[in-house]
Amino acid sequence: MSARKLTYREALREAHREALLRDERVFLMGEDVGRYGGSYAVSKGLLAEFGPERIRDAPLSESAFVGAGIGAALGGMRPIVEIMTVNFSLLALDQILNNAATLLHMSGGQLSVPLVIRMATGAGRQLAAQHSHSLEGWYAHIPGLRVLAPASVADARGMLWTALEDPDPVLLFEHAALYALEGELPEDAGAVEIERAALRRAGRDLSIVTYGGSLPKALAAAEVLAAEGVLAEVLDLRSLRPLDETAILGSVARTHRALIVDEGWRSGSLSAEIAARIQERAFFELDAPVSRLCSAEVPIPYARHLEQAALPQCESIVAAARALVGAHG
């Protein structure tokens, strides 16, 4: 089966085309998904192919069009709602938490909400405090939601369809720094499972547990470490809710040391949940405390040098890994 190169953005676009072609109940709704072509050009060209009903430009009304996605899902559709970025999703949080995540339960199992909400997330492009949030781990706190973070071209291509087949609401977080990521895909690349974490690199001395935009940084760090003789496993969570605890504990059982890299603000980040679970379930496997590398607890500054210093980087991952393997139990 021949392979081809494409970007994370192109893979997402292909995934949308496939879904729109496969299931007439699928439609895409959000700000500037149509005539503008999508603020990150994911949906570019789809309006021409599928028309304004299915590639639906929405007014600046995050709460209403996310709620409308919930209602349309209840009405038998399979909506893909794009919130331009996670930064604006706060305006729709009431609909996400109080409706999408609770309707099934409040109705005693009668009403499922097969809705997919996509949003760009993450910092790193000097967009400052209001446009640089990494809240996917925060959303992972909410029961009733599935939270996915595609970090590879294959997942960008394959997670959408699987998410659409889920009877319950799924949040898909696309790290803005990944849209230009290139990767090889088989011609027939398609849906992928969304339950398991993926071991992106095998190792021996420590487990680097990460997801989304931090994965490339973690892989680069693992390279540097390997050159020093430190063999790091790199585990890509893929699903932030539910967490693939088996994969996490399995990796820790092999390496006895874990470093979690999370672009979220440290306190109350997903990294805290992972660290808590590892020590709960594998306390006596650990040769050192679980270590975390997260974003500094500061609204993300505009100035490049400050922003870079606020986020996990290859260098800081390497340093944290060195410290961790140096630490003795």
């Binding site: 069009f65 709620g67 409308a68 209840l74 009405g75 038998g76 009431d94 409706n99 009877p167």
Partner: protein
């Protein structure tokens, strides 16, 4: 459940309103007795709205309501027993006891709650209508909400989407003049709510919400227009809440005289009187009606009391689906 064909008989309107009134009087009793817990918001005085509007809906139409929705659920045709069982927290309840008074749901009659966030149901109603419009189904979604919701941003975003996309939504604003203790004049700079709807180019009609026949007429005309594809219609249904906002409300914000005045306009005696004058109702038939309703409610109570508690081992069910969606 109410059909779409012939105009409903006035007798039926009376029966439906009375069912709701007696049902809720029983609920208040059961709340004091501790059989019903949590929040309980009674609809007493406003029955003409739910009853009048439901007459215009077909089984295929959808309903979205608020936490003050017992009347809507009954008028939509959901049996009293499962509704009461829900308030008891029994698994025989419409929502298996998971929702309670504020969260009545019934997929069979397309009754989508039971939403306890003010304004939160409107975007959902817009989405239900969007699904119908995309699927070319000639259905209407009736969305009930209080006048307090008009101050919420979600109301405005939803009105705009519905109008912009010409969606088949019937917005039913139950203007009972108060949002908890906040009088309309203290929550809106413009108290004529039809003006708000008009600012979206939505047809908006004020209706005497204490006159069930007027409500039924308005709802019939409105749903007709909506069903034809004319886009949403906004009904401002002027009414009044005879009882406290909830069982905790000391009612410091309004005086008894005002309440008494409005009680003079009680939609039930009003229709009863009209029927009497028309010779369509007499003491005997009214007594008969009361008896039938009392029986219905007694068996509902029996049903709720006979209901069972969902085992605690089921706690984690219904967080995610156990089956693929239809």
């Amino acid at each position: 459940m109410s059909g779409d064909a012939p105009p409903t008989s006035d007798a039926r309107l009376l029966r439906e309103m009375l069912r709701i009134r007696r049902f809720e009087e029983k609920c208040a009793e059961l709340y004091s007795a501790g059989s019903i817990r949590g929040f309980l918001h009674l609809y007493v005085g406003e029955e003409a709205i739910a009853v009048g509007v439901m007459q215009a809906l077909t089984p295929d139409d959808a309903v979205v309501a608020t936490y003050r929705e017992h009347g809507h659920a009954l008028a939509r045709g959901i049996a009293a027993g499962p509704i009461l069982a829900e308030m008891f927290g029994k698994q025989e309840g419409v929502s298996r006891g998971r929702g309670g008074s504020m969260h009545l749901f019934d997929a069979a009659t397309r009754f989508y709650g039971g939403n306890a966030i003010v304004g939160g149901g409107l975007p959902v109603a817009v989405g239900l209508a969007l699904a119908d419009s995309l699927r070319r189904r000639r259905r209407v979604t009736a969305c009930f909400f209080g006048e307090g919701a008009v101050a919420e941003g979600e109301f405005h975003e939803s009105m705009n989407l519905a109008a912009l996309w010409r969606l088949p939504v019937l917005f039913c604003c139950e203007n009972n003049l108060y949002a908890m203790g906040t009088a309309l004049a203290r929550s809106e700079s413009q108290t004529d709510l039809c003006v708000k709807a008009a600012s979206y180019g939505i047809a908006a009609w004020p209706v005497d919400g204490m006159d069930v026949r007027a409500v039924a007429r308005a709802a019939r005309d409105a749903t007709l227009a909506v069903r034809e594809g004319g886009g949403p219609v906004f009904l401002e249904l002027r009414t009044y809440r005879f009882r406290a906002h909830s069982m905790f409300d000391p009612e410091l914000y309004r005086d008894a005289a005002e309440v008494e005045q409005w009680k003079q306009r009680d939609p039930i005696p009003r229709l009863a009187a009209e029927l009497r004058n028309a010779g369509a109702l007499d003491d005997a038939s009214l007594a008969q009606l009361e008896t039938e309703i009392a029986q219905e409610i007694d068996s509902a109570v029996a049903f709720a009391e006979a209901g069972t508690w969902e085992p605690v081992s089921d706690l984690l069910r219904f967080v995610t689906s156990e089956r693929a969606p239809q």
